[in-house]
Assembly symmetry: C2
Homo-oligomer: 315 residues x 2
Amino acid sequence: MPKIAIVGSGFIGRAWAISYARAGYDVSLWDVDAQAPDAAVSYISEVLTDLDDNDLLNGQSPTDVLARLRAEPDLEKALDAAVHVQENAPEKVKVKQELYTRLDELAGPQTVLASSTSALLPSRFTEHLKRRERCLVAHPINPPYLIKAVEVVPSPWTSDAAMEQTRLLMLEAGQSPIMMTKEIDGFIMNRLQGALLEEAFRLVAGGVASAEDVDIGIREGLAARWAFMGPFETIDLNAPAGVRDYVGRYDGMFANMFEQMKTRVDWSGEVLDRIEEDRRQRLPADKLEERQKWRDRRLMALAVHKRSQEEKTGK
Amino acid sequence: MPKIAIVGSGFIGRAWAISYARAGYDVSLWDVDAQAPDAAVSYISEVLTDLDDNDLLNGQSPTDVLARLRAEPDLEKALDAAVHVQENAPEKVKVKQELYTRLDELAGPQTVLASSTSALLPSRFTEHLKRRERCLVAHPINPPYLIKAVEVVPSPWTSDAAMEQTRLLMLEAGQSPIMMTKEIDGFIMNRLQGALLEEAFRLVAGGVASAEDVDIGIREGLAARWAFMGPFETIDLNAPAGVRDYVGRYDGMFANMFEQMKTRVDWSGEVLDRIEEDRRQRLPADKLEERQKWRDRRLMALAVHKRSQEEKTGK
């Protein structure tokens, strides 16, 4: 199978490595910290056991998948013959600019250079490159081996060929690519998340709701539908004659609300004290890590549930 | 067990009846249309079989639960000795004002009058009543027997006693009450949904995403976490030191995006043509009803999944 290079083998890089190796790709892991790739491989080995227990390895054994991974201390060797580079360096323009200069020199001309960045537009760190047309962003929701959506974002100079090659790779890797037509701050998912969070902060700041009230309203309310339909299919099914009927009924209500949502609440002001107090009361700071493990178990169980429902009841 | 009166036995009323009867309450169903309560009971009887097949009747048989329901053509008898009235009349101020005048006269002084309205503030149809302090909104996400969140919303004159009585009832009925401190357009859930939809319409209007891209970003992306955590717990676990750390890292990015979100997109303009076209291509209009049944099966399966995970892995 073709080879993929993971550049930056921390939190995101190692998760990508699982997704690609599970799909059958050979994966080399490199990091500026020479210890990181080996640490990543041993972390991955544990995750693979969990995935196997949940039948999430497409019928392969953890040993099969692990055999495709290789910690590679030398960047040139890591990139050699790779069809795709998945870069997961720190979210700093300068760091990425310098790194991409090296990647652009070392990687073969057909290799796509894809960044996992969530915060930087691809144009900000690829403009200066010789082969900048093969650079783009492929932004996952972590971890990609459990959450399928990946935003594929072009800069103004990204070629259609690089976009298409990445789309096909994402499908091969079992992801659900969202093919964007242009770069925009926050891409799609963080814009949707941002819009929801703006109102959530505002509700807490106005004394209308606690952080927990907001969380109940989503986790015991709206997200029950969003988790398998998304917001547009949800409203399409929420009025007898579909989405146009829904808009006809409720547009006025939403237009009215929007007028109250135009001023930003300072997230780091007093409202953050209140939210943090609520959260720390429910989850002390020293339990955050344990709770992250619980989240990952729940995400795994949800992935299994969704797959089984898609087989049984349809997608 | 105490008795609950369902006033308005359509779509929402019958769903409430299931939730209350399953919890052991006697339930009388009334409607301005004399045929509706009987139709509701026969509809409910089918749903109870489905719920039983999914072990969602708390160990009771459909016959046990059905025996607690009574179609009641006479409003006075329906209200007699009820501790709680759940009103589900059309979303028209005038209709509700007149109905509440009757309910206020007929219901005993301790009876809470709760409206299922999603669009009207409780003050708009209860101000004129003699015992207006026992009136409030209890707004579910339909169907409440599968989705737990219920917003309990006071008018300026609702008593603490009525709020507390309703909170306890909701807990008894297996719901997750969100206790609001004041009325506000859209309450909490429709404000959060509205904020997200505003940005979703804007992304489609700007040619950045299709309706399906947005739906993928939520159903294969963000909602995987929101479905069991909510947005605040999500960001609390998304930075090593919790929510304050998250805000420190990303506040600037979200502040920047917010500047691009201040102008409203006309939902019913050209963007709606595009969204409707995308939806109808995926789901022809004559399949909407079938797809709504699919949605209800998926909601039921998700409710079962969440319960089992909460028992196994914790809430």
